[in-house]
């Protein structure tokens, strides 16, 4: 089993997209949580921003970034010829 340069590039791309998504995950969870007290001053349709993020917003972003990861990686598999069988 020999890894080619193409394989290494696939893995690098995986690491890059993972890092970006983990960064988003970190910001919507911990950065907003850390600055929750000052951010509470800002409200939108009745919700203070940190409350809305903690109750609904961040959760929706988690679903979206996982969905993005799945579709991005499944496409990357095909591009780099490491995809499985024919099952669509």
């Amino acid at each position: 089993m020999q890894l080619t340069e193409k394989h290494r590039e696939y893995w690098r791309k995986n690491l890059i997209v993972t890092s970006i998504l983990v960064f988003i995950w970190f910001v919507v969870t911990y950065v907003i949580g850390y600055y929750a007290i000052p951010l509470t001053e800002i409200t939108f349709m009745g919700w203070p921003i940190p409350f809305y993020m903690g109750a609904q917003g961040s959760l929706a972003i988690y679903v979206l970034i996982i969905w993005f990861y799945a579709s991005y990686m499944n496409k990357l598999d095909k591009e780099y010829g490491v995809h499985e069988g024919e099952d669509e």
């Binding site: 020999q2 983990v22 007290i37 598999d77 499985e84 024919e86």
Partner: protein, 698 residues
């Protein structure tokens, strides 16, 4: 993969057939609820509606369980690896959401406000870690248990054994709490004894998993998910119609939150509210004075209640007054020691009610900057532990072995979180809407005409809801209400003025949530013992038949053990559940992720890292958690022992980084793993490789 085309075709047909079956099933269930609703209008008593829900759903799960019986190892351990992403998502959702999520979470948010959101974020955000760092790689590895991966990646029995013990430790503490929840729900809706309820529930759990292992658990969990999500969202939608005139209150309840905040300000300043809070302050002070004067105050207090009775009798007072004075004498503590305990309880109960309402939307309320800072630190630490713990609990990770491919595993995490999200993003809405109801319509109403649901529930169970006119003005003040968190979900159907059949539906949903989680956990423990200990270590030549027999026997033994522990009503059950997260986080997460992302990680690093992580987490809990401190007879005060003010529930905040550091340092100090291991790492990183090795389990 050689017969990929036919496999893909049959997989597609399989998914189609499943959609049809579960479509019919959902329709049938809705029909069942409607028929019961009509029967209720025709006069079917509430108790019978409760029984109908309980027995019909358990019978249904039993039916699926029996139909899914199997004698095939791969079917038993990983449902034949052909569960489509969508259905694996539903099964994971049911596996994940326990009685605590279904019944207790909205109550926690009602009482905790913003700070309670740590649970909502922690228990959903953890799936990001599952998706990015674990699920696809574990699926490619493709064996049966999480210790399987540790054993193969790090070589030898030691890492496998450590992993096995960590899996059993965290799953067992968790499953005890689930069976406890099943007992509570069964008791509440049928009126049987708690102990009977526990073992009745146990029967319900075993019919799902005993004959068919993972295969049976998967298909019952899908059925349970459908019931639990219908049961959660319908009452919420109706409550939304009532309060914000919209069946999807998630997008507009900000206005209700605004009104709650205004009501909090009004209640904080209201002179009648202040009066009630002062009465409690006085009661707390009195109890405190009696406590300080012990042991002398015991005799004096005893004489005082006796004298009061004698005086009343002498004065020929009203019989009711004499009766209550008699009760006071009868219930007076028999010793100074007992009196101390009772007065301490009185003091704490009164002191808890002297504070104005907690501002719901404000993060980390506290008396000063320092208190708020500590609250914030613990909030963030708790989110971290819950997230990393989510990504390390073996009963969840195991589910991603059951999909047909890496590709489906990735999609399946998306579905899992989506289905979990539906409930979790609803719980904070429910909490706010019930609070709105409470502040707008209950507080300020007359005792003579309390809303019906309040009267009903305080008659059922005073620990759930209790309203007493403390200052005798005939009007309800907020400080006169005590409530238990579970009331929020349980009473919602009545608050929204829905018929009793919906309350039965909510009970069925809670039961589905508890049963499904208990099933997944029991299977994890039994599999760790039957597969990792018996087959991989003790008897590697065992036949398929022997392996399955051993697995089923162990499942039975573990189930009965867990039920016996639950029937004892162990103390601090909530703490045990949260401890499971910190322990799983510290034990598994570093070893699993470094095993995939860092080729240099080796056997000694992983073994010592897991031990160090679990060790320090457990040690910190022992020195700071009141119940464990008593068990281990720890010296020093809690305040002296805490590190950076972190509470014991978040002990994983120390265990996880230490686990990473130890694995990295020890691995670098010892020789690199062999070439085969490095090839294994490449193998799990790429869904398909030329000349790939094969690690699929059989």
């Amino acid at each position: 993969m050689s017969n990929g085309a036919t496999q893909a075709f049959s997989q597609k047909a399989f998914a189609q057939a499943l959609k049809k079956y579960y479509g019919f099933y959902t329709g049938g269930f809705v029909g069942f609820v409607i028929v019961l609703g009509i029967a209720e209008q025709l006069g079917l008593p509430n108790r019978w509606i409760g029984y109908a829900f309980l027995f019909a759903t358990i019978l249904l799960y039993a039916g699926i369980g029996v139909m899914s019986r199997t004698a095939d190892v791969a079917e038993y351990y990983v449902a034949g690896r052909r569960v489509p992403a969508l259905f694996n998502g539903m099964a994971t959702g049911a596996d994940w959401m326990s009685a605590a999520s279904f019944i207790a979470m909205a109550g926690g948010l009602y009482l905790g406000g913003y700070d309670g959101l740590a649970f909502v974020m922690g228990w959903t955000g953890g799936y990001c870690l599952v998706a990015f760092f674990l699920a696809p790689y574990l699926r490619k590895f493709g064996q049966f248990t999480i210790p399987d991966f540790l054993g193969a990646r790090y070589g030898g029995h030691i890492p496998r054994m450590v992993g096995m013990f960590a899996a059993i430790l965290c799953s067992f503490t968790y499953v005890v709490a689930q069976i406890y929840g099943v007992g509570i729900i069964t008791t509440r809706f049928t009126g049987v004894d708690f102990q009977v309820g526990v073992f009745l529930g146990l029967a319900g759990i075993l019919v799902c998993s005993f004959l068919g292992g993972m295969r049976a658990v998967t298909w019952t969990q899908v059925a349970q998910y459908i019931i639990l999500i219908i049961a959660y969202l319908i009452p919420l939608a109706m409550l939304g119609v009532r309060h914000v005139s919209f069946p999807v209150p998630h997008v507009v309840y900000g206005f209700a939150l605004e009104k709650v905040t205004q009501a909090e300000k009004r209640i904080t300043a209201d002179p009648k509210e202040v009066e009630v809070r002062n009465i409690f302050k006085k009661r707390a002070d009195e109890a405190d004075a009696k406590l300080k004067a012990l042991p002398g105050s015991y005799a004096a207090e005893k004489a005082a209640v006796e004298k009061k009775l004698a005086d009343l009798r002498a004065a020929n007072a009203a019989p009711a007054e004499i009766k209550s004075a008699e009760d006071a004498v009868k219930s007076f503590p028999p010793s100074a020691e007992a009196a101390k305990k009772k007065w301490e309880g009185d003091k704490a109960a009164a002191a808890a009610r002297t504070a104005p309402p907690r501002p719901h939307a404000m993060p980390f309320p506290g008396k000063d900057e320092k208190a708020r800072d500590i609250a914030r630190k613990n909030f963030l630490a708790l989110i971290f532990c819950l997230m990393v713990g989510t990504a390390a609990l073996p009963h969840i990770l195991m589910r991603y072995y059951t999909t047909p491919s890496v590709r489906e595993a990735r999609v399946s995490v998306t579905w899992s979180l989506f289905f979990i999200f539906l409930l979790y993003f609803s719980a904070p809405v429910l909490a706010v809407l019930v609070k709105y109801e409470m502040y707008q319509f209950v507080v300020g109403s007359k005792f003579a005409d309390l809303p019906r649901w309040v009267a009903n529930w305080s008659a059922v169970d005073r620990s759930l809801l209790n309203v007493v006119d403390i200052n005798g003005d005939g009007i309800v003040q907020l400080a006169e209400i005590t409530l238990g968190g579970d009331i929020i979900v349980l009473a919602t159907p009545e608050i929204a003025k829905l018929p009793y059949v919906i309350s039965g539906l909510v009970a069925a949903g809670g039961l589905a949530a508890a049963l499904s989680t208990a099933d997944g956990l029991l299977l994890t423990i039994a599999n760790a013992l039957s597969h990792d200990l018996y087959y991989k270590i003790i008897n590697p030549h065992a036949s398929t038949k022997t392996r399955l027999t051993v697995a089923k026997m162990l499942l039975l033994v573990v189930a009965v053990m867990a039920a016996s522990v639950a029937a004892q009503k162990p103390a601090d059950i909530l703490f045990l559940v949260s401890a499971a997260f910190s322990l799983a986080a510290a034990g598994f997460f570093p070893a699993l992720t470094l095993g995939i992302f860092w080729k240099r990680a080796n056997k000694w690093g992983a073994t010592l890292g897991m031990l160090a992580g679990v060790g320090i987490t457990f040690y910190y809990m022992c020195i700071t958690q009141p119940w464990l401190r008593k068990v281990f007879n720890v010296s020093g005060t809690i305040a002296e022992n805490t590190w950076w003010d972190i509470s014991p529930i978040s002990a994983g905040i120390f265990g996880v980084p230490l686990g990473f550091i130890v694995i990295i340092v020890v691995s670098l100090l010892t020789p690199a793993p062999e070439k085969e291991v490095q090839e294994l790492v490449d193998h799990v990183r790429y869904p398909v490789l030329e000349g790939d090795i094969d690690t699929r389990g059989a």
